[in-house]
Amino acid sequence: METGVSHEELVQAIHAATAEVFTTMLGLEAAPQPYYVENTAPQPSDGVVSLIGLAGRWVGTGSISCSVAFALKISSHLLMASFEAVNDEVLDAVAEVTNMIIGNVKTALEEKLGPLGLSIPTVIYGRNFTTRTIGNNEWVVAPFHCEGERMDVQVCLAPSRSENPVRPGFPNPHVVGTV
């Protein structure tokens, strides 16, 4: 990441936000694993991916990806109901967990990056799909383990080149396709 916030600071914000959301809203412990950096967003070939755009003097995307089984688990804990298949309630629950985690990361980063807008979450569910963000920006990937499952929280941020950069609701162009 060019300047503004180091990988370690970003990961620290992701860890703090994820721990708070998991313990407060889900009653689960998410164990952070070593982070890594990739130039394209790593995505599972099956499962659920939730994306939120960030916009300000810095722009980018935050995302959460996990298996269907884990999406069902966090939805069940959030809504105190049992889910056996992905439906609108599950997708909404995953979107809200993403909104809370990335929203709190955003608040932590604003001290260094200035005001950031947050888009409405987009959730993708399916099989054999890939996602990519236009451009060559690097993604900081923070994996978590929870009850035998893995969830990745990923953030991609770069300085805005726009003269009028604050456009909440307009994340980086993002492409989804089947493989």
């Binding site: 708070e20 407060t24 959030l78 105190m80 604003e110 005001p115």
Partner: protein, 125 residues
């Protein structure tokens, strides 16, 4: 006296969770009304009695701060307490909400205790 509580959030999950939390907190509620954004909330308020509003900030069509401003600018609604329940934790947003007349500000994620503490003074518990 039981309240008519309007919950405004684009997430159906959060609307459901807030209803559960208010029931657990023994907040006296006559009915819950739900809206997915500020514009829907204003439509509901034109036809329904509302005694308390819990509103998110980041929503499509009309955000929670515009909704708050419109409620406080309306003579019939200006005394209805509006509590913001949102991931927006920046000091600037909190100050904007306070200046517009928000009765409280709860940051997501929240505990049932935080909601109860924030609402108890407003609903006379």
């Amino acid at each position: 006296m039981p309240l008519d509580v309007l919950i405004v959030d684009d997430s159906a999950a959060i609307r459901k969770i807030l209803q559960r939390v208010l029931r657990q907190a023994d907040i006296p509620v006559r009915q819950f009304l739900e809206a997915g954004d500020g514009a829907e909330a204003l439509e509901l308020m034109r036809t329904q009695s509302v005694g308390l509003v819990l509103s998110d900030i980041n929503m499509p069509n009309m955000d929670g701060l515009e909704l708050l401003g419109r409620i406080k600018a309306n003579e019939a609604w200006k005394d209805i307490p509006v509590v913001m329940v949102t991931t927006e934790g920046s000091q600037a947003k909190v100050m904007e909400a306070v200046q517009l007349g928000a009765a409280g500000y709860v940051r997501k994620p929240f505990t049932a205790e935080q909601i109860k503490e924030k609402l108890s003074g407003l609903v006379g518990m």
